[in-house]
Symmetry: C2
Subunit: 202 residues, 2 copies
């Protein structure tokens, strides 16, 4: 079975977003763009990793990664990515509030899943066929899937910044031993690729 | 002036030790040896970095890094390292309780500093001459020096493990932007060397 891969840019202290997200600040109150400079300021150097991030048969993301709206859906919010999101595949958005699926240009369809993380992953696996499923974030969503033991691999970009305060990818989880598959530094980040070991570590 | 360098092995989520240290468990209640496998299981591969860790003119460490004893000094505790510690230089130990300096084999002398982190660093700088000063840990001590803006560089070893709970190197600090000087993965860790940028990032 193809792996379930969590993908995210994080700080050196494992923080993936700030608190207090707004429409103007998708990553909340951390310095703007600080985790993703590699992507915007050095795209040539990081082309392979940018391609790998969206090379999946289906994606799962949390509601905050889809948008800043809370409570019932209203208005026409269709994600942070404009008319043609980069996914080109089904994206399953975790939410407590039902909404019709939303088809975008370029083959991305957002499906809104109210039945929880297991159902979202099951639907993503079915949609992905023989390709990877990516748990695309944010940190709270990746944390939930890690807690459920559902992540096979992590593809992270460790930004050269310590944030000190924010939403932590691994917060409160038991120790997770990893196997280093690949580590590649570029000028503005370090790409790390780990496999999650299933054996207990303590 | 030679740099003040913080050196530590940390988890992928920036944790440098577990809670509840005892004499039997110097790193507290995290899986034993989990952050330092690189040092003990693959010394040949990591020889340069092991040498760099102790290549300083003087060292500063917190009391927990020196020993598990709390309150007044009693007994003959002389550190975790046996009769010949690996430092071969003066080591300034932060403590609230005065104690006579302790000279060990091989040129290591432990000095016990009760006047706080600034005085300890000042004494270490004076002792180090034209060589680096290392803030050798633990995480609470490095955190205090980071908060004081006294760290110029970080030499960390990122172990392939997420701990979720423990003593965090960067906990509660404002964002610290870093410059990647060098990143070198070996089979059991990733060596990272960062310079601390003094410019504000937000």
């Amino acid at each position: 079975m193809p792996p379930v891969v969590a993908t995210m840019s994080v700080s050196l202290d494992g923080i993936g977003a700030g608190h207090n997200q707004t429409e103007e600040r998708p990553f909340g109150d951390i310095p703007e763009g600080i985790l993703h400079r590699w992507m915007f300021e050095a795209p040539d150097e990081n082309r392979a990793e940018m391609a790998a991030l969206i090379d999946a048969g289906a994606f799962v993301m949390g509601r905050n990664m889809f948008g800043p709206i809370r409570g019932e859906w209203s208005g026409d919010w269709n994600g942070w990515w404009g008319p043609e999101p980069p996914y080109h595949a089904p994206v399953f958005v975790l939410t407590h509030h039902p909404r019709e699926s939303l088809t975008m240009a370029g083959g991305t369809t957002f499906h809104f899943v109210t039945e929880g993380i297991d159902v979202a992953l099951e639907r993503a696996r079915a949609a992905a066929g023989d390709r990877e499923v990516h748990i695309a974030g944010g940190p709270t969503t990746v944390n939930a899937y890690l807690a459920a033991g559902a992540i096979d691999e992590l593809r992270l970009q460790i930004a050269p910044v310590a944030l000190g305060v924010g939403v932590r990818l691994f917060d409160g989880l038991p120790p997770i031993e990893l196997e280093q598959l690949d580590v590649r530094p570029t000028s503005l980040t370090t790409h790390v690729h780990y496999r999650v070991r299933r054996t207990p570590v303590a």
